[in-house]
Amino acid sequence: MNLTHLKSVARKEFRHVLRDKQTLFVILSLPLIMMFLFGYALKSEIEDARVVVIDPHPSDETRSLCRALDENRQFALAAVETGGDPAKLLVQHRARALVELPVDYSRRRDDAPLPIGFVYDGSDPATATTLRAALPAFFRTHFVGRNKLEATELVTTGTRFLYNPDQKSALFFVPGLMATILAMIGTLLTSVTVTREKELGTMTNLRLSSLTASDVIVGKLAPYFAIASAVGVFILLIGRLAFGVIPQGSYGLLAWTTALYLLVSLGIGLLISTIVQKQQHAMLMGLGITMMPTIMLSGFVFPRMSLPAPLYVLSCVVPATWYLQIVRGIVLKAATLKELWLPALVLGGQAVLLLGLASRRFGKEH
Amino acid sequence: MSAFSIRTKGLTKRFGTFVAVDGIDVEVKRGEIYGFLGANGAGKTTAMRMLCGLLVPTSGEGQVAGFDILRETAKIRTRIGYMSQKFALYPDLTLRENLKLSTDLYAIPRKLVAERMDEAIMRCEITEMLGRVTGTLPWGWQQRLSLACATAHHPEILFLDEPTGSVDPLSRRGFWDLIRAEAARGTTIFVTTHYMDEAEYCHRACFLVDGRVADVGAPPELKARHGVESLQDVFLAVAAKARRS
């Protein structure tokens, strides 16, 4: 590997990348938009879920019940009807849940409990599950004190959350964002760009030039490595300034494990470019084998522990899964190499394997 | 019907502060082969693209086939053929499919399509490889296909932008035979090139330097005026004062 040759290839590639201001703009805006969304607009808790109450015999008691329901943060009273078909109301999506009060609600009954109907829209299982627990719970607290013998809380629980005591969602999504966006730059950008040269026929003819395959590979990948690192730093900076995410652990460890992860992504990108001939194919392949698994299987959005066995195994192949463990560990738990040796080792191994394979194929091709 | 196929007055194109074409006056007689010569960057392609309606002039006026290049580009397009510098047909279609597409785009009357296609195929000598996918053929065949597609609808004017490319001299000569045959049929040919020896084939040649017309005339006339033996020397003489390229 000749350093001068390498530098000239890298410099040319850098100029090329920097000239494409639009893509650079997108790469920088994407994390901003996603952080904005995750931080301010997207929530996983249920708030103001619409509930319709069917009250055949309105009274002061039922009215105060409805008021209390509406005031509760979790619910929003959509309407109070005197009758109607619950199924029809839910099909029309007027509400997520429906409460059917009995005609004789105001009557005090000591010997027989009041029948109250709860009808849920099951099409959104997450909301339905939450409402299924929350609505009856609301009623239970509303009824406390009405009867002689109370349904008591014999045993209560006190919950403590480790590492994220305020349950800040930012601490959760910032690592995931890093993993996703770095993968995007490392894999998608690289594979499409390198394939582009193939498609247009401007790829350096190694047999004619004095450059070796490794000169070209390292020179080509270097700018993307640099850009991705810059974006990574940018994400951490925004995370800190806007959301107060401060890594508890070592920055140094974060830096070189991120570098490893980048190498893996670049390796995949280069590998894809040796398999396909057209940019379009590179893009489709990159999306399929990198971006989708990274978002779906790594634990970024969906909990890994709920995966059925075969998918769990698959998730262990996805580099983002291991990287996410590392970043979350460092940011939230001040974890050190002692705890993170396994993910780091896996990433290192993947980097060596992928870059090696990709380089060999690249060399053979050119 | 005007005696001139192309006429411009003060045609100018500015890109920001850069003046690519600086107020050129051009007159191309009907049926002649008119060469537009100059070094790379002199403004030849820009001027041609304005004439074809691909680029809007910054100022000035012009008529192509009797129609105004600012307001009547749609009518112009039905009467011209264009061959760009790079190969601009579809590499994944066969020769025949590319040609057929051209006949449809120019809406050649259906009764005449077969006849025109056969004629173009024969003229441009691409009979053998009709069923082959264009991208697999060598540059010479692609070139001749481009010519066929540009002439099947019998345009009044044929615009050729550096048509011979960097092909060997023998093939270039062969292509010029086809061009001259086209001119013999009465088509006006407007061709740009930076090969000065090709200019010998033109009825008249115009030298473009720094976006301006440096000289224009029939080859013998130009050579006499500058007291030189070849158009290459004429070019060196007029380009001596060039600032671009």
């Binding site: 708030e47 010997d111 099951g122 480790l162 995966l307 738990k333 | -």
Partner: protein, 387 residues
């Protein structure tokens, strides 16, 4: 009818080119289908196999009963009993468990005391739940679940003992909850997520391929060649949009039927013409997004990133992964221009709730408006760019 002839010629050419690119076709069809088939099971926010450890500091029959309840619950993956809270903390730090439940000393005494008094104890017996809080959403759900089980054990124990003493349990309940779960009785997450996933994938692929196809012609110079012919720029755009519009619909139908049946999504519920119309209108917006982006970029790479950028925004705010109603009001209003949101709503309403298309007319209209809007913008910008 030269206009029609020119348009048909372009349309035919596009289809020929698509057919001659088997690589893209394969990826175009396989990507949505395979991804959905494989990843469908991954898309659940339901928390299962919760790694749990118990610390029983009471060693009584009551604490054993509670432990047993937790150990045998299907959602937990019981990892074992630990002798102390410190040991549990270590396991949590190491990431080997998600939840640790500690039953304090004196648990049985407190519980039995309350039963004897037949009253709410002044101080409820408290059980400690410690959760690894890295992933806020998962942690919250796991904690809530654990608390609910412990609470329920308490209630059931109390009732059982009280009934044993001759009291009517019904009087303990102020109300008798009668529950009905409509539309998705088993609460299958895949039913909810699979349509969304398909929409996501078909959108990505449809918009990208359309944009790429136009940008490629610009990059290679064939677009310029088209522009010197009498063809009108609008015809060029239509000639590109139409084939991909047809193709996206085809892919959508296949992608919905195959993985859909695989996961048991109740496709039979849906009103077919209503669904077909929705798919047609939505694919119009997808293809139009592609044409619009193609007028804003000059390379395929730029197209890729711009579309990716737009889609991430649209998909995250569409209600696909996270509940739509939880978004702040101003955000919800902003998404009126988000075709993914409307189409997702439409599909879920038709397929999961068996809604009538007539009730969904606002959605159809919005989709049409967005599609026409994008396409019109594309035409305007394309004409400008083509001088």
């Amino acid at each position: 009818m030269d206009v029609l002839r020119r348009f048909l010629a372009l349309f035919r050419k596009e289809f020929l080119q698509i057919r001659r690119d088997p690589g893209s076709l394969r990826l175009l069809f396989l990507l949505p289908v395979m991804q959905t088939m494989i990843l469908g099971y991954a898309m659940t926010r339901d928390v299962k196999h919760i790694a749990l450890c118990l610390v029983d500091l009471d060693h009584s029959s009551q604490s054993a009963a509670l432990s047993h309840r937790l150990q045998t619950n299907g959602r937990f993956a019981f990892q074992g009993n630990l002798p102390s809270l410190e040991a549990a903390r270590e396991e949590l730090l190491a990431g080997r468990i998600l939840v640790a439940v500690a039953i304090p000393e004196g648990f049985a005494a407190s519980v039995e005391g309350a039963i004897r008094e037949q009253e709410a104890p002044e101080r409820s017996t408290n059980v400690m739940v410690v959760v690894d809080g890295q992933d806020a959403a998962t942690a919250g759900t796991a904690a809530a679940y654990t608390s609910a089980i412990v609470s329920q054990w308490g209630t059931e124990t109390f009732q059982r003992e009280v009934i044993g003493q001759g009291l009517d349990a019904r009087s303990l309940q102020p109300f008798d909850a009668r529950e009905r779960m409509l539309f998705n009785p088993e609460l299958e997450y895949s039913w909810y997520m699979v349509p969304g996933m398909i929409i996501l994938l078909v959108t990505m692929v449809g918009a990208l391929l359309t944009a790429f196809s136009i940008v490629r012609e610009r990059e290679s110079g064939t677009l310029e060649q088209l522009l010197v012919t009498p063809v009108h720029p609008v015809q060029i755009l239509f000639g590109k949009a139409l084939p991909y519009w047809i193709l996206s619909q085809l892919v959508f139908v296949i992608a919905l039927s195959l993985p859909g049946s695989f996961y048991g999504v109740p496709l039979g519920n849906a009103n077919v013409p209503g669904l077909a119309l929705g798919v047609a209108l939505y694919c119009l917006t997808v293809v139009s997004l592609g044409t619009l982006v193609s007028t804003l970029v000059s390379s395929q790479q730029q197209a890729l990133f711009l579309i990716w950028f737009a889609l991430i925004f649209f998909i995250l705010t569409s209600g696909f992964m996270l509940p739509f109603e939880s978004m702040p009001g101003w955000m919800q209003t902003l998404t009126e221009g988000n075709a993914v949101r409307h189409f997702l709503y439409l599909v879920r309403a038709l397929v999961l709730r068996g809604a009538s298309p007539l009730a969904l007319i606002p959605e159809y209209l919005k989709l049409a408006a967005i599609g026409i809007g994008f396409f019109t913008a594309s035409v305007v910008l394309f004409k400008r760019k083509a001088a």
